[in-house]
């Protein structure tokens, strides 16, 4: 990463890492700030003055430690993509990184984020002073002031990537992607990453996730199908607008509802779609995991009729593909355009199905593949995700409307059951 503080570097780094992990590529972020905090947990702006020799020495040491750990990770742990999250603000520093990597046969891709839009920078400063560990427990006003001074200190020595570095592979994002320069991309993975990064923005927003209201199939324990929602499901659909309000969203913003093409999600979003300020899109890619021959069966039917399949699915639920249907892995692949579009969008509520929701949730909260298919996502619950510079914040809002559980634990009998309270 390359860029002044408050240009969204950590956000991009964290997201790129999650995206790569989600599609199955081992990735890790090496945050130089974290190494530096080891010795100076809460430095003042003075520490970052260009002529503060002590500060410079310690920052250099932190960078060296991070790079050395990073290269060790490539060597010993078969890492594929490491993201070095720091300002890397001088040409000299970048050359040092480039050469260190080259020695170990590691390709470098510099991602620079530059921004002169004051509003965007201020938003980022506000975000950082409330969430950065550097300012934990400090007066927010003082923190903001100090942080701005820190940025000034960096500005004095900052050198943007220019013609002198045209032999590097780099991508330069100017004002949150309104102009992008892509230079010397040499391999497919880099092009894919650049593609992903281009879809990112750093405007504040939230994403809401909800399953459809309880369906008629849920009532009888059947999976798949295209049934309508039950009476209780309809009750959930009715309170959804109120639940959204309760979860909080900024006034006068447009929120787009995404549903699948199946009846139960469209019905669930019906009342919300009628609320002013909401738009609606239907996506085929949000349809429930296709359970092939098992579509319309209960777990018990499946255990009876396809006992081997039932066991095989428990063994490796992520990779198990239903006869004639899909696996979680297949769903992730088909959801990729959705994730890209979601990254581009601002406020979105997605009303979809259990398996699909698990995959989307896993993307935002970086849930490992072994766990994500077993996650509990109860009916009649609204999940609000708010991306922050240092991770995704999650809130859940339960509608007080009872529904059957559709969750089944690994290796258990073929019945839906309650999610164990201690795992919640």
């Amino acid at each position: 990463m390359v860029g002044l503080p408050a240009r969204g570097k950590s956000l991009i780094a964290g997201k790129a890492m999650r995206y790569l992990a989600w599609v199955g590529i081992p990735a890790r972020v090496f945050n130089v700030g974290r190494y530096r905090r080891h010795n100076t947990p809460q430095p003042s702006a003075k520490f970052f003055e260009p002529h503060n020799e002590e500060g410079e020495k310690m920052r250099r040491a932190a960078a060296e430690a991070a790079v050395s750990d990073m290269l060790a990770w490539f060597r010993e742990d078969q890492g594929v993509v490491a993201i070095l999250d720091a300002t890397n603000s001088t040409r000299e520093r970048r050359r040092w990184i480039y050469e260190s990597c080259e020695k170990e046969n590691v390709e470098t891709l510099f991602v620079e984020s530059t921004c002169d839009d004051e509003e965007v920078i201020m938003n980022n400063i506000l975000e950082v002073k409330t969430t950065s560990p550097d300012y934990k427990g400090q007066d927010p006003e003082m923190a903001a002031l100090d942080f701005r001074t820190r940025i000034r200190n960096y500005e004095q020595v900052y050198e943007t990537i220019d013609e002198n570095e045209k032999h590097y592979t780099y991508v330069k994002l100017i004002n949150v992607g309104s102009t992008v320069i892509i230079n010397q991309i040499k391999d497919y993975l880099s092009s894919r990453l650049v593609y992903y990064i281009q879809n990112l923005h750093i405007k504040p927003r939230s994403i809401w996730l909800s399953r459809h209201g309880e369906s008629e199939y849920n009532l009888v324990g059947k999976i798949g199908g295209d049934s309508s929602i039950s009476e209780r499901g309809e009750a959930y659909a009715k309170v959804l607008p109120e639940l959204m309000r309760k979860s909080g969203y900024p006034p006068n913003t447009k929120i787009v509802i995404w549903t699948s093409t199946l009846k139960r999600t469209i019905q669930t979003a019906r009342h919300l779609a009628g609320t002013p300020g909401f738009g609606k899109l239907e996506w085929k890619a949000l349809d429930e995991l296709d359970s092939g021959v098992c579509d319309g069966l209960t777990y018990k039917d499946i255990a009876d009729q396809y006992p081997e399949d039932f066991a095989a699915r428990d063994e490796d639920k992520y990779n198990y593909r239903y006869r004639g249907g899909e696996s979680y892995r297949d769903v992730v692949i088909r959801l990729e355009p959705i994730i890209m579009e979601l990254e581009r969008s601002e406020n979105v509520i997605i009303v979809t199905h259990q398996a699909v929701l698990r995959c989307i949730y896993a993307y935002f909260l970086n849930t490992p593949q072994e766990q994500s298919p077993w996650m509990e996502v109860p009916l009649h619950t609204l999940i609000k995700l708010t991306p922050r510079a240092y991770g995704t914040e999650e809130q859940r809002f339960k509608a007080d409307i009872p529904a059957v559980s559709t969750w089944r634990g690994k290796g258990t009998s073929a019945h839906h059951q309650e999610f164990p309270a201690d795992q919640k």
């Binding site: 497919y188 092009s191 006869r323």
Partner: protein, 534 residues
Amino acid sequence: MDTLLTAEIVANSPRFRRKSSTFVDAIHDLPEKADLAPAQLYSTESGRLFHSGRIVIITVGLPARGKTHISVALARYLRWLGVKTRIFHLGDYRRATIPFGEDMPDDYFYVNASASSVLLRQKIVRKCREDIYHFLNHENGQIAIYDAVNPLAAGRRSLAKEFAKHDIETLFIESWCDDERIIEENVRRVKISSPDYVGWSWEDAVKHYLTRISSRIPQFQTMEEKDLNYIKMINAGERLIVNNCSFGYLSHRIVFYLTNLHIKSRHTYFARAGVSQEATYKSDSSLSEQGEEYATKMTECLLRHRETEKQEMLDRGEQKYELKPLTVWTSTRRRTIETAKYLHESGYKVRQRSQMSQLNPGVCESMSEGRIRLEYPEEVAKHDLDPYHHRYPRAESYHDLAVRLEPIILELEREQNDLLIIAHESVLRVLYGYLMACNAADIPFLEFPRDEIIEIIPESYQNEARRIHIPGLPKEIIPGSPQDLKIPVPPSGVTTPMAGGLGSPQEGLATPQNGLRTPREPERITQQHVEDVV
């Protein structure tokens, strides 16, 4: 001559629609049926995808900068993704409007052209633009690619304004080069094959052509218009500058594709893997003796063919012609790796790609057709209806395979060396389907008999496929997978073709009915855009 006359007739007919020959790349045809595209992920009622509106992609750049190549490649990819896309080469319209044999006026591209030239220019542009509107407004088109020089900022701004009035977004793609070698190679490859230069030496022809361009189009302004959406591609992809592209997934996807595209020409060869000892999917067994023999003969044949091609180029007067290095891609299946053994031993680079493993046959693995019909009558019926998308229990459909191969497609565009792909027939079908813009419905029926290597030669206007015969192979290993068999993937070893074609594909599609049946001497449509012979 014939093609020129046809072009004129077609261009003067109410709706100009190019039809390429049945045996070549179908990128300029528009499928009649509203079929799903090979790698389409979802469909919408309007037929437009990505919830984007209608877009005109407008090329910018002097001749010999690879505009046509970019337009065609982009259209190929967008169509593959299921975006209804058509290319409008202004050069075609110019050629059709200016009577054959007449040269275009000298001041055609001048800013202060004479009244008659301005009128002519307007007439040509109007015709092209009418067709674009028709495509976008009445044929459910989503992207029209307008392939022209568009040298001036003022002209580009008024184009954007004009389209905006019709609620159509614009995206400019400029190809800009300051690397003389790239320009020269482009001129050599696509421009001076025209009759004007018969008997010229390559060097003189290139020089003459470039001088003519600069006197014809004296003014060219590179794109700096911050208010327009544009992608500037510098030196064939060395650098890309993306400005203000705000219409979402699709524009980013285009940039993604362009970062992998380059203008250089290279050949792609397709060869089957040799026969293996045990013909099942799960066993992943080694080559049989016959398979080994095939591997040797295939290798010899390919290398001999490349030498012949080189000799032909030398004979044509390209004195320093060198073959591009050859890279081999195989899947991670043993048979394909072993088929590449001799090439590997001779020092060619061989890469294994896990995505290129064959279609998973699922439960139908090593079942006879009779047994499949007996055990899965419903599946067979479903398969008949849609062989491209249907998935047998636990198997993959061709559609699954196409989606899985997407990274390979992008890397295929990225590869600079000549490329030999050794893979199972199912994989070859899909990759061929992409390169030759086949209809999805036809892909499962393409044939790749083992005694032929397919060579795909990219031309800027369209790709061309040739077959190279491998002599001296025993008859029993030649047939491809029995194309009419209603199973997802036939056993990969020795197979006998089924008698009696069950469910042969419909006739009258852009792709040949029984898979590719390229004539040995393919009919070449000579492309002479008027701008090419300025």
